[in-house]
Amino acid sequence: MNSHIAVELTGVTKRYRGTTALDAVDLSLRPGITGLLGPNGAGKTTLLRILATVLAPEAGEVRLLGRAPAAAAPLAEIRRRLGYLPQEMGFPRSFSCFAFVDYMAVLKEWSAAAPRHEEVRRVLDLVDLADVSAKRIRALSGGQRRRVGLAQALLGAPDLLLLDEPTTGVDPEQRVSLRQLLSAAGERSTVLLSTHQTEDVAALCDRVIVLDRGRILHDGGVRDLVATATGRVWLADAPDPGARASWRTGTGKYRNVGAFAPEGSERTDPTLEDAYLLLLGSRAPVTEAAA
């Protein structure tokens, strides 16, 4: 496995009309799967777009796969080794599944037809779309379309794989299937997985970054984050008004997530979601950064 740093960000800042999407973010990523969590508007998509080289930061330094993407030649070299699934990916109406991924393969410089078609079949097989490869994309379900987007990102087994909510609209069986796929990709590549699905991060990632209002709230091991919630999750017969979150579970008991479990309460093991909720609950009040 390549142990080189694939992503290095130093003081990266991006603003949209006075709103700070990223605020002096420092980050480095090595091979493996890193989860990126955060509420809507936290800056996750902006971060991924900068890493995908489709958006330039206003300030700060970006190095991807050992190169700065400022000049044309290193930018092309980075893009040859990059796979990107955007958050909102549309498709041309008339393309079949195969034709679209084939088109993307040509854009990724697979010029010779025979190996290109073999590669397209391989990635469609990886995402379980081989059976519908001749179908028009507009005839596919939302989950299948998402997997078409993922297939194009996987072309050429990229060294840096950036996935913005890849499991949106995907059914549970397919989600497990995609987890297998991504865990295999993480053995050889640097994968950054932006998602709202904490269970995907818990299942796949060894490291998690929590972004909020353009700043990194947490950057560390998934277990470390979960450990911060130990002793702060408890079951009770009634919701606790002092808890950060409280909901009735299938057993009829209320799961309370809060600062402190009351004395004598039935404590339970925290999940990544609990820890994430507590982390966001502990954040500072809204400041200039999000104004």
Partner: protein, 292 residues
Amino acid sequence: MTAALRERPAPPVPSVALRSLALLEARRYLRSPIFLIGVGLLLWTTVVATGDFGQNVGVTDPGDQDFLPAFCLGLLGVFVGHQLTRSLDASEEAIGASPSDGVRRTAALCLACLVPGVVALAWVGWIYAALAVGNIPLSATIGAGARAAMLLSGVVAAVGGPLFGVLVARWVRFPGSPLVAVVVLAGWVLVSTVALALPPSRAGTLLHLSAPLTAWSSADGPRSPAWVAGGSPGWYLGYVLLLCGLAATAALLPSATAPRRGRLLRLLALLGVAALACLTLAVLPDPVRIPL
């Protein structure tokens, strides 16, 4: 899920990557329903026109049939070029992260616009074959070279229309923009034909030949003898070819960054000067109209 990982291809030389993309875009062009309708229309109108040659000798010349590919492939091609360019907008973000930048993608689209040109060249071959087979006498007023230039300007218009569509798609983003582009093109051509109704003059020839498509012969009335307008068909062919170059270069500009943008701007200026020179040379010959 267990398929082996493939090695990435070695980075190709830019021309190979461009050629692959251009071939793919050409295949998309060939499958465009609007293009296929245009080809069908060209076939039908040409069958009618070539049937007419034998019966109306002296009234018009085959060299004046350039409007057929210009309309069927060029004008309709504005829609095709525009549609091909914009059809991948929905995937723009994923495409933007690929090593093929906007300039290469636009260049490939411009090369794909040669597809209707190839069809139009075949059409020119058909016209000459029909003339030979029918043993149809041609007007001595128009020389063989001039006639070929007139017909070839229709081929250039068949390429120029789709190039204009790509240009509009790269620069303008509002619903109905290709329709507006077609109206502008058609309007330009119609305005230029006004000159044919005026007494012959160099100013009139300039107005007449400034359009990207022109009619070379006309008559002063339904029963009047037909005549050939002044001007040089050869230099006019050069002018419309350079207009195509201008359209392609201008289409590349929005995606280009420095220093490539600077080079494209210089090329644009050079092509513009050359086009003006060709137009001037096309207008210089005696504007007097010669009966067919």
